[in-house]
């Protein structure tokens, strides 16, 4: 929750529901969490990109994209 608050305070977010035809209430929490997830997913994609580059520089060939679901798994945290 602190992380969410920090993101909010830093003004990283924004939110626009400007279109006249938008009729759903997106919910503030849903908008905030989208910004956070975009940051996390973007960072992971960057990491993956550099990892691939590094491995290819070292001449290590990676198998074709693993099942995406597997990349979703977090390290054991509990």
């Amino acid at each position: 929750m602190r992380l969410l608050q920090a993101i909010r305070k830093l003004g990283i977010l924004c939110v626009c529901c400007r279109a006249l035809v938008a009729y759903l209430d997106p919910g503030s929490g849903s908008l905030i969490v989208q910004a956070l997830i975009a940051v996390v997913v973007g960072a992971l994609a960057t990491l993956r990109f550099w990892k691939t580059r590094l491995l290819s520089l070292l001449g290590i060939r990676q198998e074709d994209d693993e099942e995406e679901a597997d990349t979703e798994a977090l390290p054991q945290v509990d």
Binding site: L13, V21, G27, L36, I37, A38, E68, L74
Partner: protein, 469 residues
């Protein structure tokens, strides 16, 4: 001019609404939506989505069909042979509908549009494929905007799938109560702790649920101004993350109690072949265009109907066999079959605002013929429903009935009575024929080989307003 009838579930979106005229469903596009509709049609998005069978194709019809001032266009979409609801879908149907929604979102972004809603009710299985039927779900994407329908997607798709996969497949039925999807706080509280190990579920469900609760009713930016905005790339990343999370959710249907029904000793192979042959013959007499197979199991007999070109809704109350039926349908690319999860002892009720948003199963009746094979003993004995009520129920649904009578001394009926008192004196072939004879004329009757089961082709006599004969 013909009479119009509003479709009960079509009133929330100001972009337009659906109505029925002369039995066909039309969609009115309101003037407020003009810019978005034109962009959809002219950008190439409509062509791409319809070509990939992700969006229902439509034609524009004469403006005299317009119902109210403010109408821009009236569309006649390709008609769905049956409207089903997410609480009637098996696990993989919900999953495929979710993945189709995300694919549509990504393709829309490519053409400068976005999905302004992500309701599971906007998806129907047309010719076997999950297809968006709400042509007005798109809006022009304004750079920097977040995805307004993100929460709706999580409630309608991700929450039920996560619960069905990680907790219990029957929790999909929460969708019956929560028509706008399962509230995320409820889903998060029901999910086991080990789901925190999955990044996708942690972000899109657990964290999302907490954020919604923490910031409920608060503005997103304190000063009301917006700072750095979310870009299109961010939404594509979120859609990819959701896709990976959905794809990672699985459910093993082989543990179902009914999945091996035909592999067991229900009856001998010769009897089974005989039954297939007779069902085929009876269908050739009835020549139905639409069939409902009640208690269809994995759809063996439904396919006899669908392979004859009859659109067949294949219903069962066991999530495992519906899953198997659906996976088989997908594998074989069958277009005239729709497996659905329906409990006949408690079929889907009318629901939503004024009980008009979602029709009951009975309100959606459109079959010419009912298949009720190896079913009546489950209804009459396991569920204590009197034969007369069963006859009336079937007669309300369709004019033709192909029904199998399973006698009391049959192994399957004895199994139902093994631990309970036999209070079913009326359950006999004679009484069955007498009671069903009040409602139906028996067109054909044959005994199945290697058993004392009987297969009947019946035709409804007449039905009064109240449904009583």
């Amino acid at each position: 001019m013909s009479d119009f009838e509003n479709v009960g579930g079509s009133f929330r979106d100001p972009s337009g609404f659906t109505f029925v005229r002369d039995g066909a469903v039309y969609r009115q596009v309101n003037d407020v939506y003009r810019e978005h509709y034109d962009h959809l049609m002219q950008s190439g998005l409509y062509a791409e989505l319809t070509e990939r069978r992700l969006l229902v194709p439509h034609s524009e019809v004469d403006a005299s069909s317009h119902r109210i001032p403010g109408a821009y266009k009236v569309l006649l979409p390709r008609q769905a042979p049956f409207i089903s609801y997410p609480y009637e879908w098996c696990f993989s149907q919900i999953k495929d509908a979710a993945l189709a929604t995300l694919e549509i979102l990504k393709r829309a972004l490519k053409y400068g549009m976005i999905l302004k809603d992500a309701s599971a009710y906007n998806i129907q299985f047309l010719a076997g494929k999950p297809t968006l039927i709400d042509t007005l779900s798109f809006e022009i994407y304004k750079e920097g905007a977040a995805w307004v329908a993100y929460n709706q997607f999580c409630q309608h798709f991700l929450a039920p799938l996560a619960l069905m996969s990680h907790k219990d497949v029957r929790l999909g039925q929460l969708l019956r109560v929560h028509l706008d999807g399962i509230p995320l706080d409820l889903a998060a509280s029901l999910l086991p702790k080990h789901t925190y190990r999955k990044l996708g579920i942690t972000m899109h469900l657990h964290l999302h649920a907490r954020a919604r609760s923490r910031y409920a009713g608060q503005p997103v930016a304190k000063d009301g101004k917006s700072g750095k905005r979310l870009g299109k790339k961010a939404i594509i990343d979120i859609a990819d993350s959701l896709r990976a999370t959905v794809q990672g959710l699985r459910w093993d249907h082989r543990r179902s109690s009914w999945a091996g029904y035909y592999a067991g000793d229900s009856y001998q192979d010769a009897g089974f072949d005989d039954k297939r042959k007779l069902v085929s013959e009876y269908l050739d007499v009835a020549t139905p265009k639409r069939v409902w197979d009640l208690g269809a199991n994995t759809g063996v007999f439904s396919r006899i109907a669908s392979e004859r070109g009859a659109y067949t809704v294949s219903m069962d109350n066991d999530p495992g066999v519906v899953e198997e039926n659906y996976l088989k349908m997908k594998e074989r690319k069958e277009q005239d079959l729709l497996p659905l999860l329906i409990d006949l002892s408690n079929p889907s009720a009318a629901a939503g605002w004024a009980n008009e948003e979602r029709d009951s199963l009975g309100e959606r009746r459109n079959a010419d013929c009912i298949l009720a094979l190896a079913l009546i003993h489950h209804i009459a004995i396991a569920n204590n429903v009197p034969l007369r009520r069963i006859a009336h129920f079937f007669a309300q649904l369709a004019p033709w009935l192909i029904i199998e009578f399973v006698p009391k001394h049959d192994k399957k009926v004895r199994a139902l009575l093994i631990a309970r008192q036999d209070i079913f004196e009326e359950y006999s072939q004679e009484t069955f024929e007498r009671i069903f004879g009040e409602t139906y004329e028996v067109a054909k009757r044959e005994k199945l080989r290697d058993s004392d089961r009987l297969l009947y082709l019946m035709r409804r006599r007449l039905i009064s307003k109240g449904g009583n004969t």
